[in-house]
């Protein structure tokens, strides 16, 4: 089984060559404008109007709240997968344990829901 992973690594290296080759092919054919000569073309696109202010500003906090809830559930997924693989072998005790575990997380979801973390303002 371990020999699969070097193969995977080789496959990643080969795959990186694919977009590089595509870009190289396009480079052969395409016209190459120069930023110095064609200033307007390289401006940020905003439907014809010059852009104002910075783009990289502080963003709406909602996104962050969703990310936090996601983190809790993503870790839960990590715990659930090995359990699901061995579900048939482990017996009823593991099943009850996992019901409790999921129950605790559902309380967490309910709390986030109650506190309004899942609302979009």
């Amino acid at each position: 089984m371990l020999a699969d992973y070097p193969a995977l690594g080789l496959f990643i290296l080969l795959t990186i060559a694919f977009p590089v080759a595509a870009m190289a092919l396009a480079w052969l054919f395409r016209p190459k404008p120069k930023a110095a000569e064609d200033h307007e073309k390289f401006l940020t696109y905003e439907c014809g109007v010059d852009t104002r202010g910075k783009t990289w500003i502080r963003f709406k906090v909602n996104y962050f709240l969703y990310a936090l809830v996601f983190l809790a559930f993503d870790v839960e997924v990590l715990f659930l997968y090995p359990w699901a693989v061995k579900f048939q072998v482990l017996g009823a005790f593991a099943f009850i344990e996992m019901i409790i575990f999921i129950g605790i997380l559902l309380i967490g979801l309910w709390y986030a829901w109650k506190e309004g973390a899942l609302e979009w303002y």
Binding site: D4, A26, L80, A92, W113
Partner: protein
């Protein structure tokens, strides 16, 4: 016809060894050949799919669709590809150049990597990983980062807006996506995709796991940023979201990666829920193609039927409906397995 490709691969390896090559190196050369085949499949698929999507959408809207180049306009995509190849490559001077340039490449690499674990026939797989399903989920969720890189690197308000929207959406829908596959894992007791296919010789998992199939389909539509969940790139209000600043080949790579993801996810759905390569009469590698295309057509059908969903509805649908339902499905599956044992059926 059935073991055609396996026999070809074995003959090729045998030939390489007979030339005096070390067996390990022969395997490596075979992997390169497999990679060439995968990339060819992807490229040909994209050309067909873009044409097909335009034709299908035209059919839904009572238009003709592309009909000038070749019979039924089939060469339209090739003409488009040549056009994109000859377009100039504009990197905005305000952009974060490194991130801007690597984002499309990262996206396509991640999308192509998904094909390593999909069983394309009986015993036909690029690499038969024992954690194939987990690999697919984890690598598939990396495309979120590619979109964030594109949006952030562009230094454009449209792009950033599209990027944060798509991250919020994909992150939310990744949870039900992973949860809905758990029921299948519980029944088969394996993450190997070939084992999952073999476990379906009697009943397809779409019959045993109907709730999981539906939640997976909805979550996958959102993960693929396809309509009705195409808020992140909503052309009418965001001018293309994270792709706004991209031109020529870089934009084409994004487009390519999106369709590559679509095919990969459809193939995974066919594998996990619709019995994979199993089927009567026809060879196994033909069955997986038929099933994959059937699911892709359903994706097209959904996209061109439903209007776009509002952002707040979209987020609350994932957290308030899909997550509880898919969690309930896990408990239901567990209870079902015990009930089945108790009744002595399995």
């Amino acid at each position: 016809m059935e073991p055609l490709f396996i026999n070809l691969a074995e003959a090729f390896t045998g030939w390489m060894i007979s030339l005096g090559l070390d067996p390990g190196w022969a395997e490596a050369v075979l992997l390169v050949v497999k990679w060439i085949i995968v990339v060819t499949i992807i490229t040909v698929n994209i050309i067909i799919l873009i044409w097909l999507e335009r034709k299908v959408s035209a059919f839904f809207q009572e238009r003709l669709g592309p009909n000038r180049l070749g019979p039924f306009g089939i060469f339209q995509t090739i003409a488009d590809a040549i056009k994109l190849l000859t377009k100039e490559d504009i990197v905005p001077s305000a952009a974060d150049k490194l991130i801007f340039k690597t984002a499309p490449m990262f996206f396509i690499v991640v999308a192509v990597m998904l094909y390593t674990v999909i069983p394309m026939g009986k015993g036909m797989q690029v690499i038969n990983l024992n954690v194939g399903l987990l690999f697919f989920i984890s690598v598939g969720s990396l495309s979120t980062i590619a979109l964030l890189m594109a949006g952030w690197g562009s230094n454009n308000k449209w792009s950033l807006m599209g990027a944060v929207r798509s991250v919020a959406q994909m992150v939310s829908y990744a949870i039900p996506l992973a949860f809905s596959l758990l029921g299948v894992v519980m029944i088969t007791g394996s993450l190997n995709l070939q084992d999952i296919v073999l476990a379906q010789d009697k009943w397809w998992f779409v019959i045993l796991q109907p709730i999981a199939f539906i939640t997976y389909f909805i979550a996958a539509t959102a993960e693929l940023n396809r309509g009705p969940f195409d808020m992140p790139e909503a052309e009418q209000e965001l001018t293309g979201g994270a792709y706004t600043e991209y031109t020529g080949m870089r934009w084409a790579l994004f487009f390519l990666a999106e369709y590559t993801n679509l095919v990969a996810v459809s193939a995974l759905m066919a594998t996990v829920f619709l019995g994979g390569w199993q089927g009567p009469w026809l060879p196994s590698w033909l069955w997986i193609i038929i099933k994959t295309y059937a699911i892709i057509l359903v994706f097209f059908w959904v996209k061109w039927t439903f209007p776009r969903i509002r952002m707040d509805h979209l987020m609350s649908f994932s957290w308030k409906v899909l997550v509880p339902v898919s969690l309930g499905n896990i408990l239901l599956t567990g209870a079902g397995i015990y009930f089945c044992r108790w009744m002595g059926w399995c």
